[in-house]
Amino acid sequence: MIIDISNIDICFGDDDMAREQLKTLTEQMYYILLILTEHHHGYGIMQEVDSRTEGRVRIGAGTLYNLLSRFEEEDIIVQVSEEDRRKIYTLTDKGLNVLRNEHKRLKQLVSDGNKILEGGAPK
């Protein structure tokens, strides 16, 4: 599976680095944001993604750590509390918008696919 993240500029620290607005999410990004519509800590996110996708999408700890750092810097998620030295995150309004836009885009993709692959496509 090839996931296109070529239009996403990942940065891990320097606040003054130019950041490009997230336009297209990778599958892993999408599921992280989806899970963070509720409060979760890092490991909880990994478990939830694994469970909801029945093991199809698995996120490594390093990848998750990097993405959470990035999302937090971009104000897409926010830390709401800390329990047992675990940071609990949730989506911000901006993050919810990003997720909704992606959901809309994916629905559009499916709809366009349906038209062509399942009949109804104009010739």
Binding site: Y43, I59, T63
Partner: protein, 454 residues
């Protein structure tokens, strides 16, 4: 078996971090578990041979951040929860293992994000290496080049002149190779191709290619030090002061950072400033002290055999020789200059202190003798640099009449006529002091003593 440990050479390039995991799996299969990784060595502890999985990951915090920070602890906890047990860290690398049956999710599951992290840390490493190598190069190249007589009168000087550029290039190879791999990886990502992964075999080949010449050069340096120590133990001891102080400062600062609990974001910049200040203060101090010690020749009662020396007594004759105040004699050699000495004599003649100094260089051929000749004359012309200004500059005259008079290949003398440099064949003679170089008897004596066998 419980306490049995062993150290192995660990010279993997940072970019070959994937191959390190492969290597650690093999070691675990042989009954050796990783305990600690240093810059060039790794420590293993004996255990029952077992099949373990290892994961070496690149983390954003490097050598100039404490071992345990809030961020690194959070990252390691996340890895631990997903089934990876933390072992140790080294610079930007984090080492984990897991039992084979556990089948944990790999720590990195997004190749592009991983690649970005590798690039970021590698660039930090490259910039750090460039900074350190540039500092070393400024001081080393300034003292070694342009090549002069000083480079060829000791084993260390010779080794440094010939091998330091090679050592410098070898030290830069891992960074240069890392940059090439980054460029290739970027190109592959753009083309939708998989990123090249290092195999243990290729990583080992790289380590061997870079390490063997590096260790050979280090061996040459050690042998050179030993060779010089036979002639001048005090100078060699002083010369070791510089790297000794360097290692002590660097190691001390690094230890403090690694063991500190908090993380100051401006710590790295502050540290670089501290290092620059220390280098600026200590290097000139050490260099000047080495020079002072180098000048400190041994006082002697008699001249060793096999060294052609003309004394003031020979030149002046017994009636005018006055009272001897001091004689100093210093010898050295290198593969280029098998015979070198510096003779210094001071006498009180008719109530006036007079001196004479002879520097004698016998090289393996006239080519190197000419380099030494040019080195001495350039040094006299350029003087000594002090506080950004050249002092003690001398006007050097190339006099053809004097050259013919001395029957020399090359000949130069100072305007004051108190220093003369003569090169004939493979011998260079640098004479200075209260000597009348226009005196034909003195000339005959010198020619007979120093150049008669040419």
């Amino acid at each position: 078996m419980k306490n049995k440990t062993k150290w192995v050479i660990w010279n993997f390039f940072l970019i070959d971090y994937k191959a390190m995991g492969e290597y650690l799996e093999k070691m675990a299969g042989k009954g050796w578990m990783l305990e600690k990784v240093g810059r060039s060595m790794a420590k293993f502890r004996a255990m029952e041979p077992q099949k373990l999985k290892f994961y070496v990951d690149v983390f954003k915090e490097g050598p100039l951040t404490p071992e345990k920070t809030e961020e690194s602890e959070e990252y390691r906890k996340l890895c631990q929860e997903s089934g990876w047990i933390f072992i140790t860290s080294q610079d930007y690398l984090q080492f984990f293992y897991a039992y084979e049956d556990d089948e944990p999710v790999p720590i990195q599951t997004d190749e592009e994000i991983e690649q970005k992290m590798v690039e970021l840390t590698l660039w930090k490493g490259v910039l750090r290496d460039i900074f350190i190598l540039t500092l070393i190069a400024i001081f080393a190249f300034r003292s070694l080049f342009p090549v002069s007589d000083i480079n060829f009168i000791s084993f260390t000087g010779f080794t440094g002149t010939i091998l330091f550029p090679a050592l410098y290039i070898l030290a830069a190879i891992p960074s240069a190779y890392g940059i090439i791999r980054i460029i290739k990886a970027r190109r592959n990502i753009k083309r939708g191709l998989p990123i090249e992964k290092s195999t243990l075999k290729s990583a080992r080949r790289r380590v061997m290619t870079a390490s063997i010449p590096l260790w050979l050069i280090i061996l040459f340096y050690i042998l050179s030090f030993i060779g010089d120590a036979l002639f001048k133990p005090n100078v060699v001891g002083a010369a070791l002061l510089a790297p000794g102080i360097g290692f002590a400062i660097g190691g001390g600062i690094r230890y403090c950072i690694k063991k500190s609990k908090g993380r100051n974001k401006n710590g790295e910049i502050a540290l670089y400033i501290v290092v620059i200040i220390l280098v600026i203060i200590f290097v000139p101090m050490v260099t000047s002290s080495i020079r002072e010690i180098s000048k400190d020749m041994d006082s002697i009662d008699s001249i060793p055999e096999g060294y052609p020396v003309v004394t003031m007594e020979d030149i002046l004759g017994k009636s005018e020789q006055g009272n001897l105040l001091n004689i100093k004699f210093d010898i050295s050699m290198s593969p280029i200059t098998p015979k070198y000495y510096n003779y210094w004599e001071e006498r009180e003649i008719s109530g006036v202190n007079k001196y004479m100094e002879i520097k004698y260089y016998k090289t393996i051929n006239s080519y190197f003798a000419e380099i030494i000749f040019n080195g001495i004359t350039n040094r006299l012309e350029n003087g000594i640099k002090w506080r950004g200004r050249a002092i003690l500059k001398k006007t050097v005259i190339i006099d053809d009449d004097m050259k013919n008079f001395w029957n020399a290949d090359n000949m130069a003398l100072t305007e004051e006529q108190n220093e003369i440099i003569i090169q004939k064949g493979n011998v260079v003679l640098h004479l200075s002091g209260d000597i009348n170089f226009n005196d034909s008897q003195t000339r005959e004596l010198m020619i007979e003593k120093f150049f008669s066998d040419l």
